[in-house]
Symmetry: C2
Subunit: 306 residues, 2 copies
C-alpha cells in the first residue's frame, strides 16, 4: 500500500576518516523514501530550492517514489555539513542552513490524500499534524520521528501530535528526554500514555528495541567491518521498517500489529540502516538490490540465532 512521507530533502557536506564529499543528496525524507522504496510505493512531500539538481531527481524517479509533492521554491535547498570522529561515533555539525526549509508548509497533492501509511519524519510537530489533517480519513498506520529540539522547544505541540500516532521511532537519548526516565522499558510505559502503542528505539551501533504491550524485542546492530558514513542510517532504518509493513499491508488490528511482522520489520530496518553506512550519502542504495537485502536478512538471522 502507498506510503506517504513528509520531511527534509537536503544537500549535505560530509567528512569522515574514509573521505569527504562536498555536496551530496541528503535529508531525512530522502533516506527514508529511498530505503522504503525497496519495499513499497512512496509518496514524497518535501521542499527544495532552485539549486536542486535535475540529476538528483533521478534516484527518486528511478525508484518507485512519486515526487509530485516535492515543492520547488525560490532560494536554496536545506544544507547541512558535518564531520565524524575517527571512530564514526561522534559528529560535529559544521553548518545548518535551513534555507527554503524554514518556510516549508507541506501541501499534499490530491493523489497523495488517500495514503494508508504515513511517516512523519523529523519536522516541527505542528507541521506533522497538519500533514495528517490533509490525509482523507484516518490512515491505517501513522509513524513518526522527532528530536531533542522539538522535545525541548515545542513540547505541547509534540504531545498533541503524539496523540494521533501509532508508532514512535526515536533514539535512546530522545526516549529518555521525552519520558524523563532513564530506563528504556519504564520510559516506554510513559510514552504509551502519550498516544503511540509501539515504540521503536534506535540505538545506532548497538541495535534497536521494539516495545509494545506484548513486551520487548531486542536486536543488536548488524556488525559491519568497514562502515564509511552513518549519516541517514536512522532514517533508512525507519524506511525499511515502515516500508516493509506498508509493502505487506500490515496494519494494527484489535490485537495491535502482528508481532512476528513487527519483528521482521525491525530486522529489515536494521538491514537498510547497515547498508546505508557502507558508503557516503545515499550512494550504497544506488546499486543495492532486493536480493542483497534478502541475503543480509538471512545473514542477520545467522549471526543472532541460538
Amino acid at each position: 500500500m502507498s506510503l506517504l512521507v513528509v520531511g527534509s530533502v537536503a544537500y549535505d557536506a560530509l567528512e569522515s576518516p574514509y573521505g569527504k564529499v562536498e555536496r551530496t543528496l541528503g535529508g531525512a525524507a530522502t533516506y527514508f523514501s529511498i530505503s522504503a522504496s525497496f519495499f513499497t510505493h512512496v509518496n514524497l512531500v518535501a521542499i527544495v530550492g532552485d539549486d536542486f539538481h535535475p540529476q538528483d531527481e533521478a534516484i527518486f524517479k528511478a525508484r518507485s517514489i512519486d515526487i509530485e509533492g516535492l515543492e520547488r521554491a525560490e532560494g536554496k535547498c536545506f544544507f547541512w555539513a558535518g564531520r565524524y570522529s575517527e571512530n564514526l561515533n561522534e559528529r560535529v555539525t559544521l553548518v545548518t542552513d535551513l534555507n527554503v526549509f524554514a518556510a516549508f508548509k507541506p501541501r499534499l497533492p490530491e493523489s497523495y490524500r488517500k495514503s494508508k501509511f504515513v511517516f512523519l519524519a523529523n519536522i516541527a510537530p505542528d507541521l506533522q499534524r497538519d500533514v495528517l489533517h490533509q490525509v482523507k480519513g484516518r490512515p491505517k498506520l501513522v509513524a513518526m520521528d522527532t528530536m531533542n529540539y522539538w522535545i525541548e522547544r515545542t513540547n505541547e505541540e509534540l504531545r498533541e501530535t503524539l496523540r494521533h500516532v501509532d508508532i514512535l521511532m526515536i533514539n535512546d537519548s530522545e526516549t529518555r528526554q521525552l519520558s524523563n526516565e532513564h530506563n528504556l522499558l519504564r520510559a516506554a510505559k510513559h510514552i504509551f500514555k502519550m498516544g503511540p502503542s509501539t515504540l521503536v528505539i534506535k540505538r545506532g551501533e548497538y541495535g534497536a528495541l521494539l516495545v509494545d504491550k506484548n513486551g520487548v524485542f531486542c536486536v543488536p546492530a548488524f556488525p559491519l567491518e568497514e562502515p564509511h558514513d552513518p549519516t541517514g542510517a536512522g532514517d533508512s532504518f525507519a524506511g525499511g521498517f515502515i516500508g516493509y509493513l506498508a509493502g505487506r499491508g500490515i496494519t494494527p488490528s484489535h490485537g495491535g500489529i502482528d508481532i512476528s511482522e513487527l519483528r521482521r520489520a525491525v530486522i529489515y530496518g536494521s538491514v537498510m540502516g547497515s547498508f546505508c553506512c557502507e558508503n557516503f550519502g545515499v550512494d550504497r542504495f544506488r546499486t543495492l538490490t532486493r536480493e542483497e537485502i534478502e541475503g543480509r536478512y538471512h545473514e542477520f538471522k545467522a549471526c543472532t540465532a541460538f
Copy 2:
C-alpha cells in the same frame, strides 16, 4: 568437568540510587565462581585476610565450590568502594585497598592440578601464567579476563600470557585498547594473532559479541526494568559462559569449539549477568534456582527471536 578460577575475593562498599551497602562479599573470583557453580564444580584460588567472615564462606560451601585454595593471610581483605550514577551507567571508585591481595602468589592445592577448564580472572598477567604452569598438562580450555591497567603497564607480560589462552573475555574499550583498533571485528582479527581463537566482547547494557574464525555472534543484553547494582555482572557473565562449557565438557576440537554450544554459553552468560544486576553484591544468587535460569534462557529466546 572441574573448573579452576583464580582471581580476587574482596569486600565491596556499594552505593547506587537503589541503596547502599557498607560491606558485602565481592571480587571477580567470587562472582565468577558463584555464577559458574550453577553449571559445574568450581575450584577457587584466591586470598583473604583475617577479617574474612566465616559467614561469607557459607555461600561457597553451600554451592559446589571447593575453597581449599582460598589462602588465609595476615592483614585485611581486598577492599573496594564505588558509587554509581543515577542511571547506573557510570561509576566512580572511592577506595581501592589491595591489602593482602598485593602480595598474592597463587598456589594450587594438589587436588586442583588436574583441572581441565581454567578461568584466569583479572589479575597480573605473570600470576595468570604462573597458575597455568601449576596445572598438570595442558588444560582442555583456558579463558581469561584482563583490564586497561595490565594492557598499559605490563603489555609484554600480557602478550606472553595470551599465547596460552583459548578464549579472551574483555569489554569493548579493552578490546580497542589491546588491538589499537576501534572497529570490533577488525580488532578481533588482531587479537587472534596474539593467541586466543575466540574473543568474547562484553558490552554491558548493550549485550555481547562472540567472534571466532566462523564469524560473529551478536546478542543484546537481557532487558531489565529495575537493575539495582551492575557490580560483578561481567564476572557473572564469564562464570555462566565458562561454567556452561565446563559443565557440558565442551572443549575445542580440530574445528574449534562447537559453534552452537558457544552461542548457548553466551546466552547463559548474559542470563547470569542479568540476574547479578537485580540485587546488591551476590545477593541475587543466594536465592537463584536453576529453574529460574532456564526460565530466563527461554525468555531471552522469546525477546530476540524473529
